[in-house]
């Protein structure tokens, strides 16, 4: 019965989706973006998941969990393969600097904010969950992890809102190109930063994390005696890098022969899921390891690089959609603490991005300085932020991970609602114009010939 209901629900969702597409011009830019950026599948997942239709049961989510690894690995590899040194060399140093400064400043400000606000958020909301406030205040590693995650997740953004804006009014200008470069360049920093944190503060060296995994919060002493650190944090970081390098080399080696499309897809999917699984098993970040793998593939001489990227892009949408649906099904309940944190986080993130841009433009020549409000155009966030949250959820499961996943999903949705509008405004303020506007502005004042479009 449940299945039949679920099927009817899917049909209705499909129908609603098609109607929405037909009438989408009537909705605001933000609402349209929310329903076209891929995050709509989070809502589909929520509806299909155990908390609503239960078509995706807990057992099914358990069995489909490798797909989460696959999704994370796919995102990591896609980010990595874009970093071909031959292409990167062509980017001006000041753009690199701006990207680094925006990324690091926004991360630092957000992380600081979260580190201090997190206990307050729990205290004010009265939402103690499984974790007592005293416990959280004393557990600096957990707070640091949460701060790092929200910091790095807030430092990245997505450029896909631009496509929607361009569809309405094709804005052209330096700012839109700069925005795309800044988005691309900041993505690996967040993945590498978070990956390094998982390695340096490895779960096996932290008794509390292991205790939390087993819901044995009160038995810290006994768990500590159970856990002998396997190696130091630096050792784990080295293992992460080595894993990425060796598996990247393996994929490069395997794809250096001529292969059919079917074989290429198998090798890429198999490598991604293998490396994702290995890193999850070692409690390291699948995103990080696959990013390193992607960097290796992009920078080793490989005639199949184009075909690997093509394979990745061809299968990207199905995997991404399934990933989002599963994340939607895993979406934890929205508690007062999540609501409070998400609201504060959205505001803090906007401020941090503006501050980062403001600082980063300092080195630019006077006439070419980007607009001070460019940070606001970086508000739309999406897949990568959610992937970072899922990464944390898989490596450090527990109450805090649920809280952080809920916060990030909610903030992504809010940013998707307001982001495109602000992005359009900022681009216009930076002088971006549609070809028609350029034509009009550059015209000689004579009236347009009859029949010309207005």
């Amino acid at each position: 019965m449940n299945v039949v209901l679920g099927f009817v629900l899917i049909v209705l969702l499909g129908y609603a989706g098609s109607r929405l597409t037909l009438f989408q011009q009537r909705f605001s830019l933000g609402v349209r973006y929310l329903f076209t950026a891929g995050t709509e599948f989070l809502l589909v997942g929520l509806i299909l998941g155990p908390r609503a239709a239960n078509l995706l049961t807990d057992a099914a989510l358990h069995d489909l969990s490798p797909v989460l690894s696959l999704g994370l690995g796919w995102i990591g590899l896609l980010v990595g393969v874009q970093f071909d040194r031959r292409i990167l060399k062509q980017i001006a140093l000041r753009i690199w600097t701006l990207a680094f400064v925006v990324s690091l400043t926004s991360f630092a400000l957000l992380a600081l904010f979260v580190y201090f606000f997190l206990p307050l958020c729990f205290r004010w909301s009265g939402d103690l969950g499984l974790m007592g406030i005293a416990e959280l205040e004393n557990d600096s590693a957990a707070r640091l992890g949460a701060a790092c995650l929200l910091g790095w997740a807030g430092s990245v953004s997505t450029y896909s809102a631009m496509a929607l804006i361009q569809r309405d009014s094709p804005l052209r200008g330096k700012a839109s190109k700069l925005l795309q470069l800044l988005t691309d360049l900041r993505a690996p920093l967040a993945v590498l930063g978070m990956g390094a944190w998982y390695a340096l503060f490895h779960a096996s060296t932290e008794a509390m994390t292991l205790a939390r995994m087993h819901n044995e919060i009160d038995t810290r002493a006994s768990v500590t005696t159970l856990v002998d650190p396997v190696m130091s944090g630096t050792g784990w970081l080295l293992v992460s890098v080595l894993l990425g390098v060796s598996l990247g080399w393996l994929l490069h080696y395997l794809t250096s022969e001529r292969l059919s499309g079917n074989e290429m897809l198998l090798l890429v999917a198999g490598s991604v899921i293998f490396s994702g699984g290995l890193s999850s098993y070692l409690q390291l970040s699948p995103l990080f390891v696959n990013l390193v793998m992607g960097l290796m593939i992009a920078n080793l001489p490989n005639f199949a690089l184009g075909r690997i990227t093509k394979s990745l892009l061809t299968a990207e949408k199905p995997f991404f959609v399934i990933f989002m649906i599963l994340v939607g099904a895993l979406w934890p309940p929205i508690t007062p603490a999540v609501l409070m944190m998400a609201a504060a986080y959205v505001i803090a993130r906007a401020a941090a991005l503006i501050a980062g841009t403001w600082l980063g433009r300092a080195g630019w020549p006077h006439g070419e300085k980007p607009a001070p409000w460019l940070g606001l155009a970086m508000l739309p966030s999406g897949g990568l932020s959610i992937a970072l949250a899922v990464d944390y959820h898989l490596i450090r499961p527990g109450y805090l991970a649920n809280f952080l996943l809920g916060t990030i999903i909610l903030s992504v949705l809010i940013n998707q609602l307001i982001g495109p509008f602000l992005m359009e405004r900022v681009l216009r303020a930076s002088g971006a114009k549609t070809p028609e506007e350029k034509k009009r502005a550059g015209g000689d004042g004579r009236p347009a010939p009859q029949g010309a479009p207005a």
Partner: protein, 443 residues
Amino acid sequence: MITRISSLFVIIACACIVRAYPYGELSGVQGVTAFSLGLVILGGYLLGELISLLTLPRITGYLLAGMLAGPCLGGMLSQATVKNLTLIDQIALSLIALSAGGELRLDTLRKQWKGIVSITLSQTIGVFVLGTAAFALTSAFFPFMRDDPWTTRIAAGLVFGAISVAQSPATTIALISETRSKGVCTDITLGTAVLKDVMVIILFTITLSVDHLLELEGASISMQPFISLGGELLFSILTGLATGWGIAFFLSRVNSDPVLFLLAFSYLISVGSHSIHLDPVLICVVAGIWVTNTTEQGEKLLSIIGKGSLVIYVIFFCVAGAALDLNALQTMSVLAVLLTLIRMALLALTTGAGVAIAKPPIRSPWTYWMGFLPQAGVSLGLVMVLRREAFWWGDKMATLLVACIALNQIFGPILMKIAFQQSGETRAASNNRTAPDEAKSSA
């Protein structure tokens, strides 16, 4: 070849080193299952490629990889992990069944209907009757049945006879796809495999009812199992028709993200059919037949599944290999070999009879029977049903049957490939990849 051997070595080394990490299991099911799935995909593919150099079918390599990594041998995949991979395996099976149905063109089958019907009937009746008799006669030498009355031996023999009829449509379609076979032999084998898939379920239900009469005191013939079986088959076919219509409608009208749609469809069939007691393989086969024969979307459907077919086959056969109960084979090896040889002989005999009646234009009638040996999911499913029954000999018999199925699953594809090669319907370059052409065109 060196690339593949060294890569396989690196993967296994990686897996072994990482498995030594003492707290890996704490990462939860996600890490272990994903790691195992990746190992299965890469290891299975590489072993399949290496095996193909020996002119053996690639799926034998996939099965072997699963067996080597599985709980009975290598232990890299635990019993729990194999169980966790079941859903992904079922999704793969649904896609294989959909593609099997899609390959069945009614106009071609109409030309070969005589061959399909005569071989199906002669195999079903012949293997069932003679298999039952052979088991009843030989079981006098089986340690666990030596002192039993004839009724018990016949009851167990009926089960053996019914399960011996079963053939794996999944292996058949995978091998046809691998060898790119085309022709009379291929059409009849595929048609027979699909038809026997339905026949064997009916036969097994009848068998269990007769067994109840023979073995359980106070049992009487009840129509209930037949009514529910009839309902199950009818609703499976109707669901298959409806879903076939739905797929064709989607592909012709919507056609947005068809890969995603087919994955969602397979998931729904895999999960849904079990909860409402329908046969997922039958639903998918019927849906595929509908799409290919009543709409113009058949080619599109096959092409979409074809793009990911290698991943599907590798996952399906590796998991099947890992799930093989090799311990059962070890404990019952002599009896299993004996019964497998009996099944082979009966299949050879009855296939010969079917060919003699219908006289299809087959080039190699003497080796054609080898195409009907592989067994997999359906047979194992029937064994599970037997285990749930109250026969005292049920468990021992089930272990013996699992051992026989394991042998058929290991050697079946090899012999099937020989049958296809002998029929002259495989592509000459079946062992060479088409990649050079594809690579050239993409370059």
